[in-house]
């Protein structure tokens, strides 16, 4: 044997030690990469857009039943997030710079295989993406999965229409004076306008506008009592909630959208006791049961609309009536409710970084996943 042959390559030295020890050793272990089951109804995607850096958005995939981490996705600056209707793909719209915090900007829609959480494709986007605290108004998928809509703010507002069959940007739709891309039908999305009106846009498979109509008047009073940006969705109805606790239902089935009758979340006594809705993601609906969940805090007065909440109040949307108050063991910044018939309520806290789980129908505390790293901000569901 040559001198060279008695040398080994350091990077496999462990394996070579194995060579020497082979006679007396147990089988060598390998490492494999996990594959996930199809996402269950209680899976939740926890987003950390601001965890020690503005350049990276991390998403934890959590099984809300076992309260275990299933995996993670890594995006760029304040990513947008959505799951395909068939749950087979996950989309993140990301912004990257060639030198991390500077250089050339690339906006890109990344397509993940949901079973592997691995990128399987991408579509380059116009470098116009809305870069702000992420929420579910920033990206949406049409019910047939054909198009992904990505909100742009430059600060002029528009929507990039991404054709997922051709994997290309089909078009860009202007929504001047209005923002958000709330999916409202096969080829229809809704935006909220700066004067409190609502804009409904219909488009075709070429990514071109076919109809765009505004409500003839505001559906809430933007001067006196603005609504949170993201409504609770229950079928074709969307329930906007104002900073002061008024509910403004909007039916998305028509163009323009049709306002329903406003009602208040609070009795006079509750209002006087200082209860207010608030958080980063303060409301969520459950369509199966027709329920509205609102994160509530007491005290602090005006402009506490992003304060963490200590309770979740549950409303019957037909009766406009509160049916439960769920006291949270730990104050939370965001809530989400699963869409199945046995819905789970998730309450996410940014600091300490943890997520509590409750039976949404009877308020029973089910458990907590703690030690989420970073500062988790939002949740996305299925």
């Amino acid at each position: 044997m040559t001198k060279r042959a008695v040398y080994i390559v350091a990077i496999v030295c462990g394996l070579l030690t194995w060579c020497g020890a082979r006679a007396q050793m147990p089988p060598e272990e390998g490492v494999k990469v996990r594959e996930l089951p199809l996402a269950g109804p209680h899976w939740v995607f926890i987003m950390n857009p601001f965890s020690g850096t503005l350049q990276v958005t991390s998403v934890f995939v959590v099984d809300g039943d076992s309260l275990q981490i299933m995996g993670q996705m890594t995006g760029g600056i304040t990513s947008a997030f959505a799951v395909s209707p068939d749950r087979k793909q996950i989309y993140m719209a990301d912004t990257f710079y060639s030198r991390g915090s500077r250089g050339e900007r690339t906006d890109v829609l990344t397509i993940y295989d949901a079973r592997h959480l691995a990128p399987v494709g991408e579509v380059i986007l116009p470098t116009k993406r809305q870069l702000s605290i992420p929420d579910s108004s920033q990206m949406a998928v049409t019910p047939d999965g054909r198009f992904v809509l990505v909100a742009n703010v430059t600060p002029a507002t528009s929507v990039s229409v991404v054709d997922m069959v051709n994997r290309s940007v089909a078009g860009e739709i202007e929504t001047s004076g209005c923002a958000e891309t709330l999916i409202a039908g096969a080829r229809r999305f809704v935006s909220v306008c700066s004067d409190g009106a609502m804009l409904t846009t219909e488009f075709n498979d070429d990514g071109k506008v076919t109809a765009q109509k505004r409500t003839d008047k505001p559906f809430f009073d933007i001067e006196k009592d603005p609504v949170f940006g993201v409504p609770a969705r229950v079928g074709e109805d969307a329930y906007f909630v104002s900073y002061h606790g008024m509910v403004y239902p909007m039916n998305f089935a028509s163009n323009p959208a049709t306002p329903g009758s406003a009602w208040s979340l609070f009795s006079d006594a509750e209002r006087q006791a200082g209860w207010l809705p608030g958080g980063y993601q303060p409301l969520w609906g459950n369509a199966a049961k027709g329920l509205l969940f609102v994160l509530m805090h007491q005290g602090g007065g005006e402009w506490t609309h992003k304060n963490p909440g200590t309770e979740v109040w549950v409303y019957d949307l037909k009766q406009h009536k509160r049916i439960d108050r769920i006291v949270l063991p730990q104050a939370a910044n965001s809530i989400l409710v699963s869409q199945d018939n046995a819905p789970t309520l998730f309450a996410l806290s940014a600091m300490p970084a943890m997520m509590q789980s409750f039976s949404a129908l009877d308020g029973r505390y089910l458990g907590t996943i703690s030690g989420l790293s970073g500062v988790p901000w939002e949740m996305f569901g299925l």
Binding site: G52, T53, L131, P155, G177, A179, D195, E223
Partner: protein, 175 residues
């Protein structure tokens, strides 16, 4: 886009005639730019609404090193004073944003309301020191110019939408 923003800023700074400025704006817009537009009275009305909505529990001191400094009533970010700048200076090597979201805060020393511009210093990753989140006047994305959750680096040159810290400059008296 960048040059438009810079031009606008310079124009505003140079003009003494409001009417002339607005006419110029109209020309720029006719030039094909699409920007979210608001009537003047809407902006002013919103500022009024903020004012009547009462105290927020913050914004009552005259110390720019604390979250309670009066100018920070609508602040969301890291104080530049903790990151190598000050409440009116960006740290070395950052890119000052020519744009900002705005708030309306009461100066305790004279009791007057001022329009405050929260101008981000961009181009370096978040400083992470002295994070303050007050939300007076903050609105969702549909009222973009009042949304403190937006990365306000529009018009930076060179362009970067990574924020290091945020300043709070007095833009004028609230009318």
């Amino acid at each position: 886009m960048d040059s438009l923003v810079e031009q606008l800023t310079r124009t505003v700074a140079q003009r003494t005639s409001r009417r002339g400025f607005l006419a110029r704006m109209g020309k720029l817009m006719l030039g094909g730019m699409v920007l979210p537009l608001l009537p003047v009275d809407r902006v002013m009305g919103t500022a009024r609404a903020q004012m009547t909505m009462g105290p927020t529990g913050t914004g009552r001191t005259d110390d720019p090193s604390t979250c309670d400094y009066w100018r920070y009533c609508g602040f969301d970010g890291n104080l530049c004073g903790c990151c190598g700048g000050s409440h009116t200076e960006c740290p070395a090597g950052t890119i000052m944003s020519p744009t900002s979201w705005v708030g309306t805060c009461r100066d305790p020393s004279d009791g007057k309301e001022y329009i405050i511009g929260y101008r981000d210093c961009c181009g370096k990753d978040v400083c992470g020191r002295c994070f303050c989140e007050n939300n007076k006047g903050d609105m969702p994305i549909y009222r973009t110019q009042l949304d403190n959750g937006v990365i306000w680096c529009f018009g930076t040159k060179p362009s970067s939408y990574v924020v290091n810290c945020t300043t709070a400059v007095r833009l004028g008296l609230k009318t």
